[in-house]
Amino acid sequence: MNTENIKSSFGVNERGYYGQFGGSFIPEMLYPNVEELRERYLEIIYSPEFQQEYHQLLRDYVGRPTPLYPAKRLSEEFGAQIFLKREDLCHTGAHKVNNTVGQILLAKRLGKHKIIAETGAGQHGVATATVCALMGLECIVYMGSHDMERQKPNVERMRILGAEVRPATSGSQTLKDATNEAMRHWINNPQETHYIIGSVVGPHPYPDMVARLQAIISEEIRWQLKEKTGSELPTHVVACVGGGSNAAGAFYHYLDEPQVKLVAVEAAGKGVSSGQSAATTALGKPGVLHGSQTLLMQTEDGQVVEPYSISAGLDYPGIGPMHAHLFHSKRAQFIAITDADAMDAGIHLARKEGIIPAVESAHALAALKELPLQPSDVVVVNLSGRGDKDLETYIRWGGY
C-alpha cells in the first residue's frame, strides 16, 4: 500500500493543520531543526531504501507482522467477534518501537548522531534506547521523576541498553514535564541531535510523521482481517489515547472508511469530574502545548493542568491534533475509562485469554463494555502493550 499518496480529509494539510488543530508553535531556536524535518520527512520516509530498511527491521527485529488474534472467550462474552491486534508482542513490549525504528533511520539520514526522547510509562524511552543501541547512537531520555518511581523496571531497562535517563523535576514530574525538558535540551543542542517524539504530538511534522510510522498497524489489520473474515473492514476499531500514537496507527487506514467506527479511549482517572483525570476531550479546550494547537486541559487562565491517570502512558494533558480533529469532526467516538474499570479489564483479559495487558491498553479493553455490540459486529481492539512494566501497579491494585 502506498501510504504516501493517501489524501484523507482527516490528514494533515501542508501547513500542518488537521482542521483547526495542529500547526507549529515553537520558539525560533527550534525552527531550523523542525523546518529541516518538515522539508525532508516525506521524501526520506518514502524513499525505496528507507522503506526497505524500515520493513526489514520491522520484520526481523520487531517481529512484525504482529498477530491479529481472534479472542474467542471475549467474543463469546460480548456477543461479537473480537480481535486483538497484538502490539504487545512487538520487541520491547509495545507499539512504540514502530515509530522509533522509523525515526532512528530518519535521524541517520539527517546526519544526526545524538538522540533525545521523552517518556511517560517508559515504553517509548525503552524503544528509543533500544534502537539507539542497535544503531550505535548516543541516547538521552527525559522522564518525570514521579514516573521514574512508578515505572522503575523500564528505567533500568533503558540504563542496561546504554541510555542516560535524566529526571524531569519540574511541574507534576510526569510526561508533560519530560517533554518540556527534551525540548529545552534540543534548543541547547540543535546541531547534532534529533528529538524522537514518542507520540502524535509536537509541532508539525511530528504528528503526521509518527502517524505514518505507526500506520503499519492498520495496514496489517486490513489484510489480516480479510484473511480471517473475508473483509478488510471491521465495524469498530478501539484504541487507547495518551498522545494518540497507537490509536493513530490503528485508525490510519480506516479514516476514510466511514462505516468503520473509530473508538478512542481516554483515561478518566478517578472519574471525569473528580479533578483527577486525564480525559482531555471531556475536560479540555483548544489551546497550544508542545508546539501544536490541540485540545488541552487547562485553567481559565491558560495554564496547563496536571492530569492524573493510574497509567503513566495516558497521563498527558493534551492529545495529538489529529485526534482533536477526529473528535471535533465527530469522526471518532471518545470514551473515558476510570482506573478501576481499566484495572478490572486488564485482570479480566489475563483470566479469559491468558494475556496481561499494559494498563494503557486495558483502558481500550474496558471500552468494550460501553459499546452496544451486535453479533454481526467485528471489533478490533489495539492491544498497544504488555503488562510486564505494570506488575507493581497490578500488585498494588490487587483484586485478582
Binding site: 507549529s24 525560533e28 525552527y31 529545552r184 541547547n188 540543535p190 491558560g302
Partner: protein
C-alpha cells in the same frame, strides 16, 4: 522600509538613543505577587531603557531553571493575566520608559488575542514578545489586531536562523529584533565566545531595517558592554531574577544593579 506605521515609546527610544540600550526582564508577580509595579518603578529609577515583563506560564519551554522557578512562584502566589492588567492600571502615571510583555502564546489565546491587545493598549504596553507564536499564524490571523492597538511584534532570531529567514523576520518585525545570543534556553550560558561574536558580526553586516537587542546569557556589565558593541543594546533576564530572589531591599538593590550595568555607559 518599515512594515507598520506604529509609532510608540519604543520607536522614540531607538530614534533618540543609538547605543547601550538596556532592556531588563522580570516575571510579573515576582518576587511577590504585588511587586510588579514597584519593580518597574525601581528599574526606571535605576536607568533601564526598556522593561520586559514576563507573563508567567506553567510550561515555559524556552526558559532555564531560574525563570522557570520565578514563573512557578508567581503562579503559585496567584498571578493571572487579569490581575496583571489590574496591577498595570496606573503604569503610565508611574513609568515612562517603553514596556513590552513577553509570554507564551497559550495564556494569550485563552484571554483572547484581541482582548489582550486592547488591554495592552489601555495600560500603555509598547510591544509583545511571544516566542511560540509562529510567523505564519501572526501574519495570517493576528497582525492587523496587533497593529490596530499600536503594538510592535518582536520576533526572535538565533545563530541557526538562516539568512533568508532573518530577512523575512526583519520584514515582519517592528520595534526591535530580539537576537538570541546562542543556541540555548535562558540563563544557560555565561559570557560571550568568539563564535558568538562572529554571529553578531554576520547579522550586523546584513543591514537590517530593525534595531537589534541581544539577549540570553547577558548577566553583568562586562557582557552587556560587549554585546552592546554589536547591537543597539542588550537584554538581561535570569541574572536580574537571581538578584530579585535574594533581595532584602528591592528598590535599593534594583537601582544598584541597573547602575552597575550601566556604569561608564552614556
Amino acid at each position: 522600509m518599515p512594515v507598520t506605521a506604529i509609532q510608540n515609546r519604543l520607536d522614540t527610544l531607538f530614534q533618540e538613543k543609538a547605543e547601550n540600550i538596556l532592556n531588563v526582564y522580570f516575571t510579573a508577580g515576582y518576587p511577590s505577587l504585588n511587586d510588579t509595579l514597584p519593580v518597574l518603578k525601581a528599574l526606571e529609577k535605576g536607568g533601564a531603557d526598556i522593561i520586559e515583563i514576563g507573563l508567567p506560564y506553567s510550561d515555559p519551554v524556552a526558559d532555564g531553571p531560574t525563570i522557570q522557578a520565578s514563573n512557578q512562584k508567581a503562579l503559585d502566589a496567584g498571578m493571572t493575566m487579569k490581575l496583571l492588567f489590574e496591577q498595570l492600571k496606573d503604569l503610565r502615571n508611574e513609568v515612562s520608559v517603553p514596556v513590552v510583555l513577553m509570554g507564551y502564546f497559550n495564556p494569550v489565546l485563552q484571554f483572547g488575542v484581541e482582548r489582550f491587545c486592547q488591554k495592552c493598549a489601555e495600560v500603555g504596553i509598547d510591544g509583545l514578545i511571544l516566542p511560540d507564536l509562529p510567523m505564519y499564524e501572526y501574519r495570517e490571523f493576528y497582525k492587523p489586531i496587533f497593529q490596530q492597538y499600536g503594538l510592535h511584534n518582536i520576533f526572535l532570531i538565533s545563530p541557526q536562523t538562516s539568512e533568508a529567514r532573518v530577512r523575512e523576520i526583519d520584514e515582519n518585525s517592528s520595534g526591535f529584533i530580539y537576537m538570541v545570543s546562542s543556541a540555548s534556553i535562558t540563563g544557560a550560558k555565561k559570557g560571550i565566545t568568539e563564535e558568538q561574536i562572529r554571529y553578531f558580526e554576520r547579522i550586523n553586516a546584513m543591514n537590517l531595517h530593525n534595531p537589534r537587542l541581544i539577549g540570553f546569557g547577558i548577566s553583568d556589565r562586562e557582557s552587556f558592554q560587549l554585546a552592546s558593541r554589536y547591537a543597539k543594546g542588550a537584554i538581561i533576564g535570569s541574572a536580574f531574577i537571581n538578584l530579585l530572589t535574594g533581595s532584602q531591599n528591592l528598590e535599593h538593590d534594583i537601582i544598584q544593579f541597573v547602575k552597575s550595568i550601566k556604569e561608564n555607559n552614556k
